[in-house]
Symmetry: C3
């Protein structure tokens, strides 16, 4: 416990934890101030996600390499998963889908682009391991194919019934989870030399004792779930107050909030000229959303939530996912980066964000 | 003739030839058992295709390098061409188009993916010549652009008349055949050093005398045509019995049956760590379908078949062809492969197959 | 002035300048012969564009490297810009948009493909700097994303209002111009070593004195504007006489006429085995159209022209731009070229041209 407090004292990001009790107080006394609740929940999720990430790493460090790697990979997007589950439970399927698509695009474009830019402002040209970057880019591209197909097929054929999309989505989810399992076998067991361990970046920090780590993991997950509930309830109303479309909120705001912890690791890697770390976090997280978070949500939607959810995305989101993965494949191909490449990738992200911001709400 | 019998004794695949007379007997005595006829015709086409392939190689070996290469390349997809011609003659345009699209996707994804997987299970990392793989991938991508354009343009513009699509298809077919001729000049004459001869894989087998080879080529082509007729007649009814959609049959079943002979070569190449051979067969066959088989069918449709055929594919098939060629370009880019890359490519193929299997038949 | 006359005497392309007075005479005496006026205006624009290009380079040579590079880059597509502005002023938005899309596709496919073919007919295999080619291809791909998005989003969603597209187009234009400014900073200042100076190809020619260069620049721009006016007025009527669709005229004819001067530089570079020069001109020009010419036209449309113009292109044009940029990324990836690669790229261009030529005019 002392260790936990010490950690909090040394990491300014964790000072934001003070907002968690403020949020619960505000929810109790001012349940109608949606904008306030929204802002407080954003400020609370960010440090909780950082704690979650550190706790996961500590558990992983104790359990040995293979199991630890598996834990890290699986719980790496726990924050996104908990937020999406809360929204699923509230029946907000559009928010869930927008946040899946948004998390893929945000990791691929925003995290990668900002890493290249931040690194490039300090170093003239940065090199990274292009063999593993290519493997990651191919993995990401092929992971997202399953998300593109239902929309591509049903967009093309108006007679295609909802029943088809639903059955297809379950089938695709099973295929994706199997592929995810095999990707773990590949990256943690048979070909681990190809993958830079994203965790080695935190090597400076001492891992927590296992009891503290497990307790933090459990406790913080519950807190994230509680905060997410406020977040999901307030986000749409608050968005209206800020003039944001629902698409923009799910795609951009939720994705940025949910991934804040990983982003800080990716950016600090880039500033230390360890671009492999940044590329690994950006593309690895995006693949994981496609291969693990999305299918798990489809399958869990049969148990929680009013009706099952499918994998058919809004066609504009499909185009954005596709362009983002092609961009990742093109820019990582050479294994070199400079500031302007980061600018270009960020510009594509800004184009998407602007499009979603201006998009009139659909009827 | 003895040589032919000896060959058959030594190659278990050719023992399936016994099903050819059984098929013709069944067709005569039980013309209504579509499922039986379908299964027998599949079992008959596979060994006939293998014989055809060996006969072509023997003729090619006798006629010298350039002409032989040309023969090999042109007759390499003879089985697919004969099946498609039979379907064209029966006026089954949807089956013809599905089998063209399916042959491209199956060669690109299934043959390439299974080769990577089979090779990867034996070797930790396999390398292949990435210069020729890139040339093949670019050739494949650009070959398929002609197949994407009619759907892309007319999908976008509902006022576009059928007359436009028909004229465009004839023009595209002529362009494709000219390009095919130039690709032969390139790969057999001016830049042959870039291409690994796919035939050298069979180096162990002695070529047949030219008379035997020519007689086999002629006789087996006739047999394939006769068997194809039964296959085309029975496939739709049998598919219904198995609960398969027509799209699935054309795209997956016909493509797998028609390409079985080449697949065995590609897979045995991969197991011998000769991945260049596998990549050459997979991408070479797919390009050839796009550059040669498809336009020849369009042009022949003016002479056989009830009405002319165009090159406008179902939009879902267009998306699948496009994703398959992009996948081929991405995975061959590095010139290295491991088992999981094969798994990923096969997963995309499974996604497509599952989509087509579940697709409700269109009205 | 003597220098200018000497230059004209030595460059056969400039002899076409004789058509400029003929054009103005014809316009005065035969204002109804649209076909004649069209042909004369084409013959006049080509040498004027060449003069403009030489004058720009001379000014650039005098003003020092950074400013000169900026001038060269900004005025490099001055002819295209003036033609488009004339069409904008005449309210011919479809022609403007077709010429933007066409200039990108023509530079990417026709200039690149013909350079590879012309170079490849002389040299067995040509190598070029693949690091800078990749940067250019990525820059081109990401530049065109902004042009794809409005159509992708609104195609997908019929409820999207014109007001949304208009607002989005202005926002995108501002983003594109900012990116263009940053790309100048990158290519002329911080990372100039990555870019081959396209101008060094003309090193043999002595730059003109600054006064002559500036006077030529001003005078020829006025002439181009006057000739463009005749061109824009006559092109549609002439096209009908030749049986060309408006889409074909804007996409192919205007793009070929406007870019004729640059093309000659790219082709002569390829024949001298300086393929870096050709790739730089082809991909650089295409990026510049997307990053600079297109957004400037959108913004200027608020000041000239009957109503504002947006960035929403015909979906077929979007597909063509996308396929062209992917093609550029694939073929420049290896840094090597041979004649057949040029043939393939040109075939894709021919496919597009044939499609546009046959396309029935939309209602």
């Amino acid at each position: 416990m002392n260790l936990l407090l010490k950690e909090i004292r040394h990491d300014p990001l964790l000072w934001l934890l003070a907002f968690v009790p403020v949020l619960f107080a505000a929810e109790h006394f001012k349940p109608e101030s949606h904008t306030l609740l929204f802002l407080l929940s954003v400020l609370s999720i960010v440090p909780l996600a950082a704690l979650l990430s550190h706790a996961t790493e500590s558990v992983a460090a104790k359990t040995g390499d293979a199991v630890g790697g598996l834990l890290n990979a699986t719980l790496g997007n726990l924050t996104e998963l908990v937020i999406a589950l809360t929204a699923l439970n509230a029946g907000q399927y559009m928010l869930v889908k927008a946040s899946i698509a948004g998390a893929i695009v945000t990791n691929t474009l925003f995290v990668l682009g900002a890493s290249f830019l931040l690194g490039g402002l300090k170093y003239h040209v940065q090199e990274f391991n292009r063999v593993s970057a290519r493997v990651l880019a191919v993995l990401l591209f092929l992971s997202t194919v399953a998300l593109l197909i239902p929309s591509a097929v049903s967009q093309a054929d108006s007679a295609t019934a909802a029943a088809f999309t639903q059955k297809l989505s379950v089938g695709l989810s099973i295929l994706l989870i199997v592929t995810y399992g095999l990707s773990m076998l590949f990256s943690l067991k048979t070909h681990r030399e190809l993958f830079v361990s994203a965790e080695s970046g935190e090597a400076g920090e001492a891992p927590w004792p296992i009891a503290l780590a497990l307790a933090t993991l459990a406790g913080v997950t519950v807190l994230v779930a509680l905060v997410s509930e406020v977040f999901v309830e307030s986000v749409q109303k608050a968005a209206e107050a800020f003039g944001m479309t629902p698409a923009f909120v799910g795609f951009i705001v939720v994705a940025l909030v949910g991934g804040a912890a990983e982003m800080t690791s990716a950016f600090s890697g880039a500033r230390k000229n360890r671009l492999d770390l940044s590329v690994g976090i950006a593309l690895g997280s995006a693949s994981q959303i496609a291969l693990f978070v999305a299918p798990v949500l489809v399958i869990l939607s049969y148990f929680i939530g009013p009706t099952p959810m499918d994998l058919q995305f809004w066609p504009g989101a499909v185009v954005m996912i596709f362009l983002a993965t092609i961009t990742a494949a093109l820019v990582t191909n050479s294994g070199r980066s400079a500031w302007f490449v980061g600018v270009l990738i960020l510009m594509v992200y800004l184009i998407f964000a602007m499009t979603l911001y201006l998009l009139p709400p659909r009827v």
